[in-house]
Amino acid sequence: MAEFRMPSLGADMEAGTLVEWLKAPGDIITRGDIIAVIETQKGAIEIEVFESGELTELLVKPGTTVPVGTPIAVINSGEPETEVEHPQVVLPKIPPPQAASTPSPEPEMPPYRTVKVSPAARRLASERKVDITKIAGTGPGGAIISKDVIANVSIQPRGLDLAEMRKAIAAAMARSKREIPHYYLSHTVDLTQASEWLVQTNADRLPAERLLMGALFLKATALAIAQRTGFNGHFTDGAFQPSGPVHTGVAISIRGGGLVSPALRDTNTLTLDNLMVKMRDLVNRARQGRLRSSEITDATVTISSLGERGVERLYGVIYPPQVALVGFGRVTRKPVVVGDAVLPRPTVVVTLAADHRVSDGQAGARLLADIDTLLQKPETL
């Protein structure tokens, strides 16, 4: 018999609101299954369990906010119980008054409200999952038209509260700047080989199978990180705890102003095709506010890529408790000296922000040189 508790998804999280149970008492669950959705500052997060067994009891009702560590469900893992004969007695039930401390998510609506809704707006609302009873209309006679539905979608981009997300970013970044003695390095990498290889590889592939330069950056960085010590892991309780696996936090921007860096697990061991599929899935879910709890906590290093429309160089702020952030600027054509000639070449500036409590510039320089070397042989990634 095990209690499943409200997980902590970062040092700044104090409480979570249960949005929805995805499993019911009696269901058999396996480690890694998603059993619930909770609302946090990072958006709606799908919660995974760490035990296998039978879900015997749900202790918290949807809409309830509980502190981190509060038991929210009971799982019978099938292991013989010796010390606890009446587990029901020792499990503290969450008293319903907890719910009263937060505004009820479903405010009582008048039982009936006459609202004119244009057919297009109604269809749009259903597609975008906007609750038409909760928005104001600006059409003739207060009718709800498409524009009103759209306006509502952009205020609340699907399970993401951008103001709350900003608070979470602020807390993490303030802690980073307070605690982590950053040092910064940068290095320009010639991407001629990588670009040509990418064009050739994608030429006879259907859109769903194509690779992006960002996938090459992720893989090369993860491989380089795995070969060096001092960049992959967490700094906790005054000491660096290195990680074996490389779980790269992938910085994903949210349109409308937000940023989240969910973990892509074991990046160094994935094939580029596999990595690309996982990256697309991660970006899509991050933007819909449907990330999983392990993705919020598992990253061991962060990689931030500005893509095609950014600037040349980014100076990262390390995401605590991690100890390094590798940044890629926009791919830019620059004059490069090749032999005795100056040639226009696609280049990218790779930067490293790293924690001086754990590594030094010398090691950081070797890391960036390794990334450069790997990107010169894209076919081996």
Partner: protein, 81 residues
């Protein structure tokens, strides 16, 4: 397939990639990437959607032709003709 059907398919795909876009206020000649903050992953998702709904394969080299809504619709019409 009529031009209107192609137009609808394009706007549906765009809307799936970036649901925040106000299609009613869209200027057909503005740069979609700049106007709606679309990145390379969004453009890839757009071409995947168009491939699945219109069965049109858009080679990577043709992606610049999807820069504006008007240009994209013209391009798709020519590909599907």
């Amino acid at each position: 397939m009529t031009i209107n059907e192609i137009k609808t398919a394009f706007f549906n795909a765009l809307s799936n990639v970036a649901p925040e876009i106000d299609l009613e206020g869209l200027d057909p000649d503005q740069d979609l990437r700049d106007a709606f903050d679309l990145d390379s992953m969004d453009i890839l998702n757009l071409t995947i959607e168009l491939h699945e709904t219109l069965f049109v394969d858009i080679p990577e080299a043709d992606l610049p032709k999807l820069t504006t809504a008007a240009g994209a619709v013209d391009y798709l019409v020519s590909r599907l003709a």
